[in-house]
Amino acid sequence: MILAAVLAWQLLLAGVVPALTRWLGRDAGYLLAIGYLIGAGLLLTRLPVILDDRAVTVSWPWLPSVGVAAGLRMDALSLVFALLALGVGAFIMAYCPRYLSARGRHTDVYVTMTLFAGAMLGLVLADDLLVLFVFWELTSVLSFVLIGQDGRSAARGPATRALLVTSAGGLALLAAVVVLAGSLGTTDLDRILAEPGLLATAPTVAAGALVLLAAFTKSAQVPFHFWLPGAMVAITPVSAYLHAATMVKAGIYLLMRFSALFGGRWAWDVTLIGVGLLTAIVGALLALRQHDLKALLAYSTVSQLGLLVGVIGVGTPASDAAAILYTIAHALFKATLFMLVGIIDHQAGSRDLRELSGLRRVMPVTVALTALAAMSMAGLPPTIGFVGKEAIFEALTDVHGVAWLGWTAAGLGVLASVLTFAYAARLVYGLLAGPIRQRGLHEPAWSFLAPAAFAAVTATVLGPAVAVLSPLVERAASDARPQGQAPYLAFWHGFTVALGLSALTVVLGTLLAGYRRRTDRLFAALPTAPPFAGAVERGRQALVRFGALVARPARAAEPGPYLARPLLAVVLLAAVAAMLAGPLPAPRGDPSRPGDWLVLALLAVTVAGLLTTRSALAAVALTGVVGLLLSAWFLTAGAPDVALTLMLVEVLTAVVVMLALRGRPGRLAAPGRPPGVAGGALLALLVGAAAAAGTAALTGRREPSPASRWYLREAEPATGGDNVVNTILVDFRALDTLGEAVVLAVVAVGLVALLRGPARPPAGGAAGPTAVPEPGTAAPPPGPDQPAAGRAGAEPTSGERHRPDPVLALAYRALAPVMLGASAVLFLRGHQETGGGFIGALLAGTAVGLGQLAHPGGAPLLGRLRAVPLLTTGLLLALAVGLAPMAAGRAFLTPIKVEAPGPLPGSVTSSLVFDLGVYLMVLALIVAAVRRLDTAPSGRVPGPVPEGVR
């Protein structure tokens, strides 16, 4: 549980950051540092258990259908990386308050960094491949956010590049997860690693290569190393934390974790050693050429990550211990160096070594601390860097197999270290020697220096006191690969080969640093930008251009160009299906009736008129006729509910469209030039033919489905309703219906949001007795009976527009009560006969629409209906009916039957109340539509384009 608690704690910290920064400003970092340390302390309480070779685990079901559990597991290896994430994080958090400017966006920085620390924790604690992958991606995304956080355009390119490279690695990891899960049938990391023998050869090779790719991208190995120096556009705390101490170590963690599975195989080991040492040398060479301190440290990080990867490839207990120890050492001294460079940059306004000469005269403490951390980087005693490098040399000479391989590896390691020594010396020398170039420089406040000083001293003291780390490192090494006891870590091993190599490093490194001028000229000849980076950049730009090309049709003003492709795809799909489809079952006779052909004929005529007319009114009316024809057809097809619903919807659609088009040009747009019309017609014919063929091929070829027979048999006994369609809607599939009703509610809310504001200019919205402005619906226009004088500022024309139409008003007065009564009857009898909530509400809505047509200013009585209250009531009603049975321990939306008391006959089921909720929501949509889309009283901008001009 403690693992989940620490993760939750981290999340909580991120959550309270805004409150903290509001209270303390940038000083919130100090509290966050304490918070990180509390998390680390919580993890450390389990140290005895872990040193006892037991892991701490917690797990809860996540995706039980695919057997994935959200499992966390902490062994010593995880603990080391978790402590690094939290410990270095605490240093950085304590560093941030003085680094960040007082008026910056520190909340964003703190929140993202804290979330990142949580993601990093989750990554190293994950006990399931999917969990691991999720956290892995989270670190990439948060890194992207942190690099590009200040929104400078200069940061956008590098941030994108970093994201592209690391997320490509993330995809590789996902593929590896799929391979492993597919061939082993589990995503449980512990089980997968426990029995490496289970995996067959082919998946091993594939998964191994993919894991390598993931780790190499994350840990910036050649040839993917170019993203890391680019990421240095981020602020220094981010560089120190993500791109030196933690995130780039995720690749190292992954390699160590999977060593149990893939290690010891020739290809894995050789790849790791080869790529790792190559990266170590390339990175160090590039670092040696840098004058920008941050760039120097970035390439140095690349180089040292390479060294780590190489050592992991050796695969002995000693090498695993060396890798873990050096991971700790590197995190400590590199984070320190970054913090100090940040301080120098902050104080001197420059990170260029050439402008920082003689800095020791004015900032002696800062420079001394830098020198201390650089000693660790160069591997000089007594620092932890020295012990770590010794261990690495020791491990490299011990490569399995042929003797010369070990010596080659050690030689390459020494070469990388010599270069490292040289650039470390150069860094320190640049700050020590030479004249001071700037005036007015001084030491920073002690509070700015303190975190870096503490880290620098820790990194130094841990050298002689390395024995403190020994139990944990040994345990972690055997967790990575259970194959024997790692050697005890000690500061002094006696006169060993490794010590000799260290001495050799120092001598050669001093020579290299001494002959700076000559070597500089040599290195300057090396290509500056890694060619791979340029290729990636060009590839990315080409991709973006290609995307723009593909998307071009979608940017047309008319739907035609971008609908053409999906429509052609429909035709193509039908053609392919026709070619590939096997023999279909024979149709069960021709189900057509004579009436069908009549409908079809009338339909064809109506549609022909619809396609050719240029009058908007005629088009709307003909569309309505199409709907009425279809509802007649539905009636003959045994679907009276559908027919009635469709008929009402047609009427309502016509009403709403008329309302929306009131005062609009009565002509449809010109159909366009003949070739376009012909092309459209051809495409339309093709799609129509495809649809017809599909319908003919895929319907009417089987007996009624078991579900159909079940509903027909069970509906009445189960629900007491005779109308099977209605019982399906409100009893059996009530959740679907609720979903549909919610969609309608969303449309209503969207309508209110879309047509908010200027739809009703102040003129119409002037308060009057009948015009109560209300949130949710626009302020209704003044009532018809209101004197025009009462409408301050109204346009002269709007008074005419608000006058009710006498004929329609009469019709409304006569018909509305009938319609409402019929609506109530249809609704109430819905369970037994044709009717129900949808139909009832549509009929009532028609009355509302009629009212609006007759009284543009707001109909009496029905004009007072408001969409949002109706919507809320309906939704709450439906939800209450759904939730009520849950109190009795039954499923959501189970119908409850209540016997009517006393004189009333029969019984009432809760589905009637549910249907009432649906009724109200549908009515709300209609009310919103009628009110919102009515253009008449909107008092449009003066001078509308006269009709018929175009």
Binding site: R588, P591, V626, A639, A669, G688, A692, G700, G750
Partner: protein
């Protein structure tokens, strides 16, 4: 064979309207496509039995399940129509920045 032909006519007309300029045509084309889908759904349940599924089930009673789908589909299509009309109105409101020929319905 009547149902497939009805579907074909409706789809062809709907697509043609979608491809022509003018937003009102877009809305109407969408309505026609909605009708076509409803016919397909009903046809999927079979059109040989045509007795309404009210008051008991006989050998000629229709499949009620597609009807339930169609019923909700009709109302949803209505919702979409309204939404499209709202978009149409919204665009008209911003017509100050638009070319006048886009103003036509």
């Amino acid at each position: 064979m009547s149902a497939p032909l009805i579907v074909g006519v409706l789809v062809a007309a709907g697509v043609f309207l979608l491809l022509r300029p003018g937003q009102l045509r877009l809305v109407l084309g969408f309505v026609l496509l909605g009708h076509a889908v409803n016919v397909v759904l009903l046809a999927a349940g079979g059109l040989r039995r045509r007795e309404a599924a009210v008051d008991g089930a006989g050998p000629e009673t229709v499949d009620p399940l597609p009807q339930a789908f169609v019923l909700t589909a009709i109302v949803i299509t209505f919702g979409i129509t309204i939404h499209l009309l709202a978009l149409l109105r919204r665009r008209r409101r911003g017509r100050g920045q638009r070319k006048p020929e886009e103003e036509e319905a």
